[in-house]
Amino acid sequence: MKNLNSIFAAYMIGWGVFFLFFVSIVKRTNDLRAEVERLKKTAFKEK
């Protein structure tokens, strides 16, 4: 197939961007969940 490299690069990079975006959402969500746990523990300790 002519220009196979270009087709492959386009699809891989395109899906890569979406995948990285999804991974960043998951990471930020996990960081926030850890922050929630930390805040709940602080509140529990004070009580």
């Binding site: 220009n3 690069a9 386009a10 699809y11 395109g14 961007v17 975006f21 805040l39």
Partner: protein, 225 residues
Amino acid sequence: MMKRVLFGVVAIGLVACAAYASFYIAPEERTMGAIQKIFYFHASTAWAGETTFFVCFLANLLYIWKRQPQFDWLGVTCAEVGVACITVVLITGPIWAKPVWGIWWTWDARLTSTFVLWILYICYLLLRTLVDEPDRRALLSALFGVFAFIDVPIVFGAIRWWRTQHPAPVIMGGPGSGLEPTMKAVFFFNVAVMHVLAAFLIMERYSLEKTKHDVELLQHQAEAR
């Protein structure tokens, strides 16, 4: 939680089907050859991105009117997903253009206004990082979002007029124009699939924004004690 995982699996499955259809069902284009297949991914992502920005615009208007935080969350969510979509468009477009037309880029109306659209929504996201107070941030970014969305068709019109003064290579005709029926069907299938993918990403990003809001509330309660 299960529903979200299922939605994600369905979205990925559909993306795989769309790729299969693009490569094995759609016939090869006569002049460009196989590289034309990038068009199915590129153009459908562009449509999904534009729909996402339109939803962002509606969310901005609704926030200005109703002042409910959910509309602000939807606005920033759609802006981020839209920027991701247009990033893909701006990368896949030149990869397609270079082997076919010998140039990475040209300043025609569609490419230029897409680039400006991308920059405007990056500015929208940057603005949000620079305003600390949540209500102010929501209102100011909503107002900027309205300005930005209204500007894009004007940019398109201005560049198109400018191009009548300085003709340049036209990278492609309108999407779906002059497409053979099978190609058209595969294209619109890709459009639908990219919208499903965008909807999944919006859903995930929205729940992150909601969690952020809950954390901010907890932080305020902790500071109040």
